[in-house]
Symmetry: C2
Subunit: 445 residues, 2 copies
Amino acid sequence: MATLRIRNARILNPPDFSSGIVGDVVVDDGTIVHVGPDQARAADHVVECDGAFCLPGLVQTHVHLCQTLMRGLADDLQLLDWLQHRIWPLEAAHTRSSMRASARLGIAELLLGGTTTLLSMETLRHTDAVFEAVEEMGIRAVLGKTHMDHPDCPDGLREDSNASLQEAERLCKTWHGRAGDRIRYAYSPRFALSCTRQLLKRVGELARRDHTLLHTHASENREECTAVERETGRRNIHYLDAAGCLGERTVVAHCIHLEPGEVKRLAETCTRVVHCPTCNLKLGSGIADVPGLMEAGVRVSLGADGAPCNNALDMFEEMKLAAILHKVRSGPDTLPAASILEMATLGGARALHLDGRIGTLAPGNRGDLIVVAPSGPRAHPRTTPAPASLLVYAGRSHDVRHVVVDGRVVVEDHTLKTADLDTILTEADTEAVALRTRAGICVRP
Amino acid sequence: MATLRIRNARILNPPDFSSGIVGDVVVDDGTIVHVGPDQARAADHVVECDGAFCLPGLVQTHVHLCQTLMRGLADDLQLLDWLQHRIWPLEAAHTRSSMRASARLGIAELLLGGTTTLLSMETLRHTDAVFEAVEEMGIRAVLGKTHMDHPDCPDGLREDSNASLQEAERLCKTWHGRAGDRIRYAYSPRFALSCTRQLLKRVGELARRDHTLLHTHASENREECTAVERETGRRNIHYLDAAGCLGERTVVAHCIHLEPGEVKRLAETCTRVVHCPTCNLKLGSGIADVPGLMEAGVRVSLGADGAPCNNALDMFEEMKLAAILHKVRSGPDTLPAASILEMATLGGARALHLDGRIGTLAPGNRGDLIVVAPSGPRAHPRTTPAPASLLVYAGRSHDVRHVVVDGRVVVEDHTLKTADLDTILTEADTEAVALRTRAGICVRP
């Protein structure tokens, strides 16, 4: 791979994103080799920034690429209706072709909006199609098929336990470490009640054996917590703990309804938590106590979750909402802008054990970065705000101008370079109609 | 004025915004004369929509144009620090020139984002500069100077009661009904404790005499409510009631911390309430019980409040947050997308007593409309969602393509037509530095 020079950018890094350095980032064969004042080096590709902000790429640690085609199909519904009458039938109706369209639509949205790395949970089948889209389109991704082997799982989404585990092992063997380690596998049991206890234990063992992440949901919803306690005799987090599913390589989405002992256990085990503020509000789930979790020593990162519960995959929206949502409970000086920007970059990298590779702009790290040029009236007065304020409170995904992943320019001047966007949008429209028809879902157009 | 034809749009109206009609809106001399299938009429100006959504212009019923220059100057602060160390010194430091720059920056942001009508509370002085900017730039506006005559008001922002009222009467006489009734005056006492009781009574009388709105804040903050009760012996809303300040022409921002008797009294008096979700979270104020207010019969509309507590003036952000925020308390089927879109259009018009003039696209109404073309991956699959879902949950101000106010095209193809945007942005940058310097506020750049 050749050298890339990101020229004339205001370089911002965690923790305070306030550097005044205007200069270049030079990437050689995917690795950052220079960050700082212009050294007028030759490069095979020069990306001009005109003084715009250059910062580490955004990291979303909980999404579902398989659900992007379901955007707008499941609004304003009670959670059980949402799952039973929309999400599950639609996931069950996926074909390899619709999975590919769904993943490509989601990846296009994520890259154009500055997300360079994702952790995604897919459905039961056709996960290869998602990996292929990731490989082609150049996003950094950790993902896996989900597991649903519990007898209570709905028809069409209930797996044989052994077959489910074998498929996950095959996927891990095929994809973990691919594309120069840009792609990794994550064992991904859906949630406590979708899996038999035996499968949860096996998944935990496989994740340890294969040195992969374990990615799951927990304590999103009060009824879910009650059901777990009724069925297992334990609180959700303690049940996952007993099944060997907690630890520093486990990433748990939501964690809204926790008892103090559960928070303590998350901290003790170094288990990572993902906050999905838009989704948690839209589904009426609740508001996770993010400041309390952080105070207890739990590492928290951010994600948009799936398109049907959001309905965007926009890290700028998640950053703003995460920054303002907790001020009601904990005070307006809670989670200031720079801390949110750190959570969205280095914090995400840490959750995925990718710090030291991505999350800061420093020589030796991989070349994952975004160039953001806030524009229009809301970016003014420019003479006043700190960059973190401008990015978190007034920034928009639309302001993302260039995106680089692993040293490859994947978005340049707001244009996706690694796939044809019009084709992706057309295929998404066509596949969504077919998917909805197969799932027997009628929605007034 | 000439005829205007909005051609080839998908026309959406409250309450459900689901019409399949693709056609034209024709505006003659500022009045809508046709809404429906193309009749191939001649028109002086044809605006092409390529099938995009055409809906009534968005109405924000609580903003502060005088604060737009303070964007990013007051983040992550406790409310008292926010007011005493930032907002009040900055308001006191305004000159006519900085007020003009602040108003023009705000109006540009509002128009480009699809807000065609606003209710704004200005500071004590230089309100003519705001009216002039409104007149030039073509937005529909109801606004007024604020009143702060209480002995406890800070230096530089404490007025003589008679002089304060005389200035308001002069402004009302000068501006109310100007520009073909596109501009109206609103008497605007800041809040219960900023005014003497005598002034509140006089303001109520003047508003009734002049048939204007009365615009104020109440019950935004717990400490404010406690202080009002301590000082007046009554709950906030009951105190305003006793001072003659409630009624169907009164618009009260926030109303977060209310007792049941206050809600009842708001409903009985037909007083309007404005919900400002982003600002209420960012300042840590609380979450207004919007579903409960509406259930009690109170009419609620939406606003972004001022730039320093948001930090945008973006109705698409307010719509999405209002749609999702109340689902936690009241269930995920609360405030579905179409009801939020109605709140943002006809609901705002009703709050301002402008229904029958604006808020729906119908012959006889004034030509206030927006054309919105959702674009990019988040607008897909297009084959699925209802328009209201697409606009509220996945829409962005960036999607606003054309904006028409009173039959005048003020934004065409994302370009502001009634003022030079570059000049506005440059002046805002310059004036913000000078304003900050005059106010003695040092902010790390």
